[in-house]
């Protein structure tokens, strides 16, 4: 999907040169929205239209009765850009709330991945051993392949995928990041 590829760094405009002072950081945003048609297009369109990055995006309905969905977006930008992204998201009519989990400090981040590996003999066994070390589960197997299910922080999944490469990585499917703050309070 187009909107998910990071926008190429554009040459700084002489108009905006005063703002490119601080360094880019990654932030995880939680966005609570009305689950109405087009709401995801609005959010994604905002990012592409204004040239913001999306590194990961997940969405699912979380309150069926109220038709509310929660979107988790991993984005990057200067602190000023992140503040702007938050305000721009809040401006969308179907958006209830936006929380910058990174700015709040303490949160848990998880992603699910399915990783297919093909191989025989020692390679196949090595893949299985490694998946156990990462607390992966086998969700499909043939005599010449395994598909593992793995949950964890995105960095753990990245790491696992790298390890699978030499033992016969075929393909990966990842859900993107879901995140929630630690402690008793909701967003």
């Amino acid at each position: 999907m187009n909107a998910l590829t990071p926008a190429p760094a554009s040459p700084p405009s002489p108009y905006s040169s005063a703002l490119v002072t601080s360094k880019a950081e990654s932030h995880t945003l939680s966005v609570l929205v009305d689950n109405e048609p087009g709401v995801l297009a609005r959010v994604v369109g905002l990012f592409s239209g204004r040239g913001y990055n999306i590194e990961s995006l997940t969405v699912a309905e979380v309150a069926h009765a109220d038709h509310q969905s929660r979107i988790t977006i991993l984005t990057s930008g200067t602190p000023e850009a992140i503040e702007q992204i938050r305000h721009q998201l809040e401006r969308l009519v179907p958006v209830h709330r936006v929380t910058d989990l990174t700015a709040q400090g303490n949160f848990v981040e998880r992603e699910l991945a399915m990783v297919k590996v093909r191989g025989r003999g020692e390679n196949r066994m090595e893949a299985l051993r490694l998946s156990e070390a990462f607390r992966g589960r086998v969700v499909d197997a043939t005599t010449e392949s395994f598909t593992f299910e793995l949950t964890g922080a995105p960095s753990k999944i990245d790491h696992f995928v790298e390890l699978m490469r030499p033992v016969g990585l075929v393909e990966v499917s990842r859900t993107g990041v879901a995140a929630i703050s630690r402690g008793p309070d909701g967003m």
Binding site: S17, A18, L19, A41, E90, R91, V93
Partner: protein, 591 residues
Amino acid sequence: MSRQMTGAEMVVTALEDQGVDTIFGYPGGAVLPIYDALFGHQSVKHVLVRHEQGAGHAAEGYARSSGKVGVLLVTSGPGATNAVTALTDALLDSIPLVCITGQVPTHLIGSDAFQECDTTGITRHCTKHNYLVRRVEDLPRILHEAFWVASHGRPGPVVIDIPKDVQFATGTYVGPQNIVHKTYQPRVKGEMDRIRHAVALMAAAKRPVFYTGGGVINAGPEASALLRELVGLTNFPITSTLMGLGSYPASGENWLGMLGMHGTYEANHAMHDCDLMIAVGARFDDRITGRLDAFSPGSTKIHIDIDPSSINKVVKVDLGIVGDCAFVLEDMVRLWRSEGHGADRAALAEWWGRIDGWRKRNSLGFANSTSVIKPQHAIRRLHELTKDRDTYITTEVGQHQMWAAQHYGFEKPNRWMTSGGLGTMGYGLPAAIGVQMAHPDALVIDVAGEASILMNMQEMSTALQYRLPVKIFILNNSYMGMVRQWQELLHGSRYSESYSEALPDFVKLAEAYGGVGIRCEDPAELDAAILRMIDTPKAVIFDCVVEREENCFPMIPSGKAHNEMLLPTGIDDWGAPDLGAVIDEKGKMLV
């Protein structure tokens, strides 16, 4: 109050319940049921435009001059796509519009049916919000919500796309009193602590300036009244953006004139050298700031805006206050009075002394002529001869627009309708039609360029049909003057495609439409001709033939700072600026 009716009847009933007396539109297959419901309707008057873009700008003119929501009704496909420019214009200038578009029946959506387009997809980026109504049960709520969203918070255009089967379906109508928007509840009252802080900063300021914008106009006439009161109490100087003209009177003592790219010397220098900037309903647009890293380098900045995303978007401010300008200004006035604040008089006197020095440069001066009409002179005469009447000015886009902003003194809010953010040529005539519909007895003048006016010339026919006596005052310089000026500055006077070749005879054109045409080329005859225009109780095209290669000054060239302005020549001994040398390579990249 709930009644059974068709979707089409719901549309018209909702318009009535929202107090809409006028809508602008153009029929087509996908809106026929709504047109049928409008047939012979008493309280909602439909104005048939000649192009859907015209309907949009007319609704904008109606909205901006009346403070109400403007409404347009167009068909699916080309009707909707023709409206896109006007919707974008309204988004950038924060004008409240509700645009109802017809859509192919729900079962045909996605099949590339005749006159189908993805209207909500296309307009998602150029509306504040949009809706595709799939069930008639949702229609009443959406209709009323749309008016709420368009007019609350930062105003903007809202599209309601209604498939034809939904227009025919019968359902239960619900009135507006039962609609409470679940998510969209913008904050209108500013935080008291911040307002108190702002007032303290103002009391301590030595070189303050108010920088006001279209938000003050959008906040209603009370906001302008409060602004005047606050300026009077503090004796601070005040400047405004293009969109904010009229909120403080041009004849007021503290008025510095407009700021920005074609703003006055005193306004831009005051912005550059101030120690406290109080931005009220203005958004630090690039036309205003010029080069950002040299924008008002030494000032503390307060920014009052109803849109939180406007604060710190382009310029980092020290104190942001989210709220409706009218509410915040009211609190400021009250605090200033009740806490017995006074400005630093000595410092202020010195500041005014510097400002008076800048004023002496007479940056709006120009060399008048007895042989050819100077465009600035034409606007000044127009102002002089219309200022004691109930006058509304709209414009097209180009030099004439800037000259109107500079030389026509606006005394009241909602009297000045111009396309600021999008800069849409073709805005002025349909906007004037909208203004005239809202103010039937007023004098409504579209200050136009000979190129711009041809973009929506067809609306002359609308003006005649509804007997709207709008006046089109063309500053005819035979060039796309603003383009020519930039080509002179940036491209060595290579006037590529900016000459207005093969112009129509505007007098005959007016007559062909059934209106009145007037041409004036002689400065000595100008006043009489303008008076004749004013006294004509019909639509007029006034072809005011002016100096061809006049440039619009002052000007901050792209990429330059407020204190690096180009000033007019020929009236003083400043000497002609070396135009080719004033813009550097980086500046040439800008628009």
